[in-house]
C-alpha cells in the first residue's frame, strides 16, 4: 500500500455565483521516499491539490468528494486536532514565496522552536539544538547567529533554506513543495532545488513537487502528474512522460521548452489559454486548444487509457491504442502515430 493515496478527489469553492470545481476526480499515490511532480499551467489546480492534502484550502473551498489516505488513515475526515498533529510533523510544506512565508515579527529561532514544541514534549534548549542541526543540514552559514535574526535580515534564497529546514525539522515522511523556486533568482533556483533533492534522497523523504518547470521535474522526480483545468490528464514515470508524452497538452508543454525550439526562431507555444474554472468547455477541457480535437472531444470527458507505464486521458490516444482511425476537425487529415502498448505489469 502506498504511503499517500489520493482517490477521486473533488474540491469545490462555494462562490456567490454558484459552486466552482477546482479539482475533479484527481487520483494519485506516493510511495515512501518517492518523488512526484505535479505540473500544469497557472490555474490548473496544482496548488489546490497541494493544500488539500493537509486540508489547508481557504474558506469557500471544501472537499466535496473522494478521500486522502495517509499511512492507512483517512485525512479528510479526521478531527482538526488529529490532523494538526500530522501537519508539519509527518507531512510538511514548503511555500512559493520565501519573502512572505516567515512571520516578519518573530525570530527564525522562535519560528523553528515553536514547530518542534507543537509536536514534541521538548525543552527549549533541546529544540534549539535540533533547529541548529537542521540549519547546518541546509548549509546556512553561521546558523547560531541566524536563530536570533528576523526574516527581513536574510536574503530570499537564505529564507527558502530556512523554510526547508523548518519542513525537515520533525523528519517528515512527505514534503509538499508548492513551487519552491518560482519566487527566487534564477541563479538561486538550481541551488535550492539541488538541496531539496539531496535532503529528500538522504533522509528518504517523499516529495510532492508542484511546479510549471518541466526541466526541474525531469531532474528531480520519478513520477509526474500533468494537470489541466482541475483534472489529471496524464500521469506516469517522469522519464516516459518527458521522452514520449502522449497527451497533446503534455506534448505542447514539452515543445514549449526553449530547448525544443530551433535557435533564432520563435519559441513554440500552445495557442489559447487555460479556461477559467467557471467556463470549462464540455467534453475534454483541452479541446478548444487541441490541434487533434475531433467530434467526440467536444462531447465526452475522456477516461484514462494505458500507454506504456503511463495513463493518459485522451480520446485520440484511446483510438490509437484500439487501432481506430482518428481524424481531427482542424486538419481533416487522418493521424497515424504509434502509441506504446500498456505494460502488463504496470
Amino acid at each position: 500500500m502506498a504511503l499517500l493515496e489520493v482517490n477521486n478527489l473533488d474540491v469545490r469553492f462555494a462562490m456567490r455565483g454558484g459552486e466552482v470545481c477546482a479539482l475533479r476526480d484527481v487520483s494519485f499515490s506516493l510511495e515512501r521516499g518517492e518523488r512526484l511532480g505535479i505540473v500544469g499551467e497557472s490555474g490548473a489546480g496544482k496548488s489546490v491539490a497541494a493544500f488539500t492534502i493537509l486540508n489547508l484550502i481557504a474558506k469557500p473551498g471544501y472537499i466535496a468528494g473522494g478521500e486522502i489516505k495517509f499511512d492507512g488513515t483517512v485525512l479528510n475526515t479526521m478531527k482538526p486536532k488529529a490532523l494538526q498533529s500530522i501537519r508539519g510533523n509527518r507531512i510538511s510544506m514548503i511555500f512559493q514565496d520565501p519573502m512572505m512565508t516567515l512571520n516578519p515579527v518573530l525570530t527564525i529561532g522562535a519560528q523553528m522552536i515553536e514547530c518542534l514544541k507543537a509536536h514534541r514534549r521538548i525543552s527549549t534548549k533541546d529544540a534549539r539544538a535540533i533547529a541548529l542541526h537542521k540549519l547546518n543540514q541546509v548549509f546556512i552559514p553561521s546558523p547560531e547567529k541566524r536563530l536570533d535574526q528576523y526574516p527581513h535580515e536574510l536574503s530570499g534564497g537564505m529564507r527558502q533554506r530556512i523554510i526547508i529546514a523548518i519542513a525537515l525539522l520533525l523528519d517528515p515522511d512527505i514534503i509538499v513543495a508548492d513551487e519552491p523556486t518560482t519566487a527566487l533568482d534564477v541563479t538561486i533556483q538550481a541551488e535550492i532545488m539541488e538541496l531539496l533533492l539531496l535532503l529528500c534522497e538522504k533522509h528518504n523523504v517523499g516529495l510532492i513537487l508542484i511546479t510549471h518547470d518541466l526541466g526541474v521535474v525531469s531532474q528531480v522526480t520519478q513520477r509526474t502528474l500533468v494537470m489541466y483545468a482541475g483534472r489529471v490528464i496524464e500521469q506516469g514515470p517522469t522519464r516516459e512522460i518527458i521522452n514520449d508524452a502522449q497527451h497533446p497538452y503534455t506534448q505542447g508543454l514539452i515543445n514549449a521548452l526553449p530547448q525544443m525550439a530551433t535557435p533564432g526562431s520563435r519559441l513554440n507555444q500552445i495557442r489559447g489559454s487555460m479556461p477559467t474554472l467557471t467556463k470549462i468547455p464540455a467534453g475534454c477541457a483541452f479541446n478548444p486548444r487541441c490541434d487533434f480535437a475531433s467530434d467526440i472531444c467536444l462531447q465526452e470527458v475522456p477516461n484514462f487509457v494505458g500507454s506504456g507505464n503511463c495513463k493518459v486521458a485522451c480520446h485520440m490516444v484511446d483510438a490509437m491504442v484500439k487501432g481506430q482511425p482518428w481524424t481531427p476537425i482542424l486538419t481533416d487529415k487522418p493521424v497515424t502515430k504509434t502509441v506504446p502498448l500498456p505494460e502488463v505489469n504496470a
Binding site: 493537509l54 489547508l56 481557504a58 494538526q84 498533529s85 500530522i86 501537519r87 508539519g88 510533523n89 510538511s92 510544506m93 511555500f95 512559493q96 514565496d97 512572505m100 512565508t101 516567515l102 512571520n103 516578519p104 515579527v105 518573530l106 525570530t107 515553536e114 514547530c115 507543537a118 509536536h119 528576523y150 527581513h152 523554510i163 523548518i166
Partner: protein, 348 residues
Amino acid sequence: MIAFLIKRLMHAVLVMFVISIISFAIQDNLGDPLREMTGQAVSEAQREVMRDEMGLNDPFITQYLRFAGNALQGDLGTSYFYKQPATEVILRHLPATLELVMASSLIIILLSAPIGVFAAIRPRNWLSRLFMGTSIIGISVPVFLTAILLIQVFAIGVTVDWFPSDTQWGSILNGMLSTDGGMPSYGRGELTHVAGSWSSGFFTADGLWHLVLPAISLASIMLPLFIRLIRAEMMEVLQSDYIKFARAKGLGLGRIYFLHALKNTMLPVITVGGVQIGTMVAYTILTETVFQWPGMGLMFLEAITRSDIPLIVAYLMMVGVIFVVTNTLVDLIYGLVNPTVKLAGKPA
C-alpha cells in the same frame, strides 16, 4: 536610543515654539481680560493703567518675547482668574484629566483587542455583526450626547411606560427597560492625596465609581474605531502566507491567532493609538464639561469664557507636550515590537 531621544527633543522644541506662537497670536481675539477681572465700578482710566501695568498695551513681539523668556524658566504667567501661576493651576487639574484618559484607554484596550480579534476570526458570527453594527452607532453619536444619555439612564434613571402596565408582560417589559439611576455623574468623588498636587480617585471605591460614566463616554468614540481597525488589520493578516505556513507547521489556532496574527495586527494599531490618546485629551473638554469633572478640559473651557489668556496658552502648551510625549513613547514601543524598524542611533 539617546540619539533618537535627542532628535525627538529637538522636534518637541519646534512643536512647542509653533504652538506658543499660534496660541499667543490668538489672544487679541479672545476678549478683554480686564472686564472679567474688574467690576463695573472700575473706571476706564483705571483700566487703562492696569492694562499698562500688565503690559497688555505693548507690541505683540515684545509681549511674546517676554512670555517666551519667562516660559523658558518654567513661568507661563499668572492666571488672571486664579491669581496663581498658570503652571500651578494646570498641574492641579492635570491628574484628573490623566486619570480619566487612563481609565478610558484601559476600557478601550481591554475591549477592543478581544472584540476586534473575535470579529476578524468569525466575521459571519451574529455577535460579530452585532459588534460591527453598534460600533457604527458608537462612532456616529457625539461624545456629549453619549454622556447625557448615560447620565439620564444610569445617574437619573428612566421610567418606561411604553407598554400597558395593567398586563403582566407589559409591566415586565416596562420594568426591564426602566432604570433606577444612582450612578455618580458629578465630580471625582472621594480622593486620596498621592504626591504634590496629585490627588487620585483610583484608590477609593467612591473615586472609581465616579470614574465609570465619564470614562465610558470618553471611550465611546475611540472604542468602535479601534475595534474596526483591529478587525480590518487582523482580517488582512489572516490572509497572509505566514499564517498559512503557521497552520501547515501544525501550530494550534490559539498560537496562530494570538501570537502570529495579533503581533502583526498591532503594528499599525499602535501607531494610530498613540495619536488617538493625544486626541482623547482634547475630547475630555466635552466629557469633563458634561460631568463637571475638575480636569484640564473643564478648566480650559472656563478659562476661555473668562479670557484668562495665560491659562489658555498654558493649556495649549500642555496639550502640545502631551502629544509629543505620547508620540515619542509610541515610536519607542513600535521600535520594540517591529523588528524591521531601527530607531535612529540604535546599533543594527
